[in-house]
């Protein structure tokens, strides 16, 4: 959950135009807003094949041939990939390291550590905290960091393949690598490695034959095999590994290889643990009907599509985006669906005390924020993800209207 302590929660509105960059640029790209709403950044084309970062209306002095994928980390660092003289660099708050790479992508953050996928001399791995893995591989993907940011992992290719070399592939060519060290057994496929809280264990989806899927923990697969599986998660209470598994054409949930939710769902995915070890997920109790489910008990309200599941800090509530058969979007919660229908709904955000839910929505090309089903009395060209104050009484709205950037701190009671 986003930590909002120390942010400016003084009620009111701040409007900025940040016009300087526009006057000195050929074009400006999309707005990127920090979680606390105090910093806004845009990539600016300052001359042909010359780019700079525009931060709160000021163009950076550093210019590059390319700047891509700018985004703010939860602690407010501005991360982007920049390219100069055919090399790529990771820019963090407009500071770049001395070493350039063949390519960088998929920036990520955990507990203060910034990392990214890297290709150097056609070898693949990660840079973590500015340091590249000691070992790189022929290919790599599915990159991730441990929750404490101290460990990194990816799926890596450890054997070469000739053209259409189907049988070497089927013998297995992929492993999980942790901090650049390949771990455990070699599999035909490996996907979505995921760490436990202290980074001491990593679990991943594996395919051992064309037909046998399982979960491997530290590179060792469960004895149990399934028709297929989805991404595993660690149970914070027991340390067990839990993943949706498909058996007999239906989906259930398995922990450490044993079925804990009998396979009866047409779909089951995106599960999340609460601190107490409860499991929330998105399920399809029957074909074409999706719902929230907690501990194998589906909620009665269904929709054609459910996505962007969010679980409250106390673990007792959940909310998600829902899409109806009329192809309109709404918000589905543990207490039912909100009344409003929209052209788009973003992932819900819970307040620290779990009592309120805020959602960014789009209707007829105008966006606003809804709290507990009630709209803020103003709409905008664009909004960004809302946030609640630590005491859960105020909502931060970040929005654009024309050239104006607007930061609003509103009381929850203002949503009617």
């Amino acid at each position: 959950m986003q930590n909002t302590n120390g942010w400016n929660w003084e009620p009111g509105r701040k409007v900025e135009t940040y016009a300087d960059c526009a006057q000195n640029s050929e074009w400006l790209e999309e707005w990127c807003v920090s979680p606390d709403g105090e910093t806004v950044a845009r990539v600016a084309c300052t001359a042909p094949a010359e780019f700079a970062l525009c931060v709160n209306g000021k163009l950076s002095e550093n210019v590059y041939e390319k700047i891509i994928c700018p985004k703010f980390t939860p602690d407010g660092k501005l991360v982007a990939f920049v390219s100069q003289d055919m090399e790529w660099f990771l820019s963090v708050d407009n500071e770049v390291g001395e070493e350039g790479y063949g390519f960088l992508w998929d920036s990520m953050w955990a507990d203060g550590t910034v990392a990214a996928a890297v290709q150097q001399d056609m070898q693949y791995g990660m840079i973590v905290g500015g340091k590249i893995w000691d070992n790189l591989f022929e290919n790599g993907n599915n990159f991730t960091l441990s929750p404490d940011g101290k460990k990194s992992a990816a799926v890596v290719q450890v054997k070469s393949l000739g053209q259409a070399d189907i049988y070497t592939f089927q013998e297995g060519v992929f492993q999980v690598a942790v901090d650049g060290e390949a771990l455990g057994d070699v599999f035909m496929n490996v996907w979505t490695p995921s760490f436990n809280a202290d980074g001491s264990k990593v679990a991943a989806q594996v395919r051992e034959t064309l037909y046998d899927y399982s979960i491997a923990v530290n590179g060792k697969a469960w004895d149990a095999k399934f028709q297929t599986v989805w991404e595993p998660r660690f149970n914070p209470k027991t340390g067990g590994v839990v993943a949706p598994v498909r058996q007999g054409g239906k989906w259930g949930m398995a922990e450490d290889g044993k079925i804990i939710w009998a396979p009866k769902y047409a779909q089951l995915w995106h599960h999340q643990f609460t601190a107490e070890g409860d499991i929330w997920a998105i399920c399809a109790p029957e074909f074409g009907k999706f719902a929230l489910v907690k501990n194998d008990k589906p909620f009665s309200q269904t929709a054609a599509v459910v996505y962007d599941l969010a679980v409250s800090p106390d673990g007792k509530r959940a909310a998600a985006m829902a899409r109806g058969e009329d192809r309109m979007f709404s918000v589905l919660t543990d207490t039912g669906a909100w009344n409003g229908k929209y052209d788009m709904v973003w992932q819900p955000v819970f307040s620290a005390d779990s009592s309120h839910t805020a959602v960014r929505v789009d209707r007829n090309g105008r966006q606003t924020v809804i709290v507990d089903g009630k709209a803020y009395g103003e709409d905008f060209d664009q909004c960004f993800d809302p946030a609640f104050s630590p005491d859960s009484s105020k909502v931060l709205i970040k929005a654009l209207n024309g050239d104006e950037y607007i930061r609003i701190v509103a009381d929850v009671s203002e949503f009617k």
Partner: protein, 445 residues
């Protein structure tokens, strides 16, 4: 245990190695598992109600090309899955080779025969089930299996690595800026009108198609994005190899690319089979009745742009063109009127193939056949004399351009015009629109 009339075995290492590992017991068990566990009344009804009238024969380009009864849809069924059903899976490995060769390389799953069957039997469904059994038995042609492996390892069909994808987009963007100085291929932009998705060959060796699409969107003032992460490839050879678990994994990755970015819809490039995997098979395997994100094919999207006046042609494509109607978007999706509207908007003159529309013949590349690779190229060539005859007839009426809004059609027709010596060029809609549209934002104008 070959059927006597099956005398056209082609050597393929995937098929041969696959059957070398089989036992009759494994075949019987697997056949039963698929028939009892994954099919139901539909397959039984199709099998039981076929009266072998042969009305489907003339629907099939393989039959029309060979004029040999064993190539008729009904005969192909009764040389493969029909036998498995009747014998309850009690067949030998050699027979599975025959089944696989028929199912993967002699049926494009084009569904033309469905229109001709008085009982409405969906032969393509039966052939897909046959392929599913072959996949479960490990008897698949080498090259399509390799493509399915690529899908599983990279989420795209051409072994394109994560960085190569983004690098290709940046390269095309840079190239395009010589022509359109402020053109962008926007990466990972949240909340825009649409995500543009393509198939694996575009970043691999048809990068100009990405350039052209981006140029069209730029000229139209579109609010769009492309994803930087895997899931960008909408194609799906796992659907055709019978690996439905992988099909589901691919479609999840594709739709979640769009869901993560909260785009209002996905616009798909000019590909037919990918469209079917999105709107028909992959989405349903995942439990969605509808697709979870609105999906439109380029033929629909370009129609919108022209009707809204967002793209105007400076000149029409010169000369006479004919239209290849891709099976999955015309017969399958009903985009005939859209394609006719566009064809007349962008070409000076159109000569229709006969037959056309939902009755058009397949290119013989679709359904994964072209992905079965070089061993089976001649199967496609000899098996689609019917298409060559159609093209020659259009040529005789003056057509020199084939408008084909589908990658498989391109690959298939390219081989056919070379094999049969037909002097025609093949164009995507994007080729023609890009080359002839009014470019208000280009440096030249």
């Amino acid at each position: 245990m070959y059927n006597e009339i099956f005398d056209r075995k082609i050597e393929d290492v995937g098929l041969q190695t696959g059957i070398d590992r089989l036992t009759p017991e494994k075949i019987e068990k697997t056949v039963k598992q698929v028939l009892e566990g994954e099919t139901g009344a539909k397959l039984k009804v199709y099998h039981d109600t076929c009266v072998r009238c042969g009305m489907c024969a003339k629907a099939c380009h393989f039959y029309q090309s060979h004029l040999e009864p064993s190539y008729s849809p009904v005969a192909k069924i009764h040389q493969s899955i029909g036998v498995l059903i009747e014998k309850d899976g009690k067949v030998g490995p050699d027979f599975i080779y025959q089944c696989a060769q028929i199912a993967y390389t002699e049926c494009n799953l084009c569904r033309r025969c469905v229109h001709y069957c008085p009982l409405g039997i969906d032969t393509a469904y039966m052939m897909s089930t046959m392929r599913r059994i072959c996949h479960k038995l490990g008897v698949t042609p080498q090259y399509i299996q390799d493509t399915a492996h690529s899908h599983s390892a990279t989420m795209n069909q051409m072994w394109v690595k994560d960085d190569e994808w983004v690098d290709s987009l940046l390269w095309q963007e840079e190239e395009a800026r010589d022509e359109f100085p402020d053109m962008r291929i926007p990466l990972d932009v949240d909340g825009v009108d649409f995500l543009y998705s393509v198939i694996g060959p575009e970043p691999k060796f048809r990068t100009h198609l990405i350039y052209q699409a981006a140029a069209i969107f730029h000229e139209a003032g579109a609010n769009w994005t492309m994803p930087s992460e895997p899931g960008w490839d909408n194609s799906d050879m796992a659907m055709f190899s019978g690996d439905f678990e992988m099909m589901g994994r691919l479609k999840r990755a594709h739709f979640e690319c769009a869901q993560k970015l909260h785009v209002k819809r996905i616009v798909m490039g000019e590909c037919g089979h990918a469209f079917r995997s999105i709107y028909d098979q992959g989405n349903r395997w995942l439990g969605w009745k509808d697709y979870p994100v609105e999906v439109v094919h380029s033929v629909e999207f370009f129609t919108e742009l022209f009707k809204a006046g967002k793209i105007k042609m400076k000149a029409k494509h010169p000369g006479i063109a004919t239209i290849q109607d891709p099976c999955n978007i015309i017969r399958g999706r009903g985009l005939y009127d859209h394609l006719r509207f566009l064809a007349h908007e962008v070409c000076e003159e159109i000569v229709e193939m006969a037959p056309n529309g939902e009755h058009n013949y397949c290119c013989a590349a679709g359904g994964g056949i072209i992905n079965c690779g070089p061993p089976f190229k001649n199967v496609r060539m000899s098996g689609n004399k019917a298409k060559a005859d159609q093209l020659k007839a259009a040529y005789d009426k003056g057509a020199r351009t084939i408008l084909a809004p589908c990658h498989n059609c391109h690959g298939g027709l390219e081989d056919i015009i070379h094999h049969y010596g037909i002097d025609m060029e093949i164009k995507f809609l994007g080729d023609i629109i890009y080359a002839n549209m009014v470019k208000t934002k280009a440096v030249e104008e």
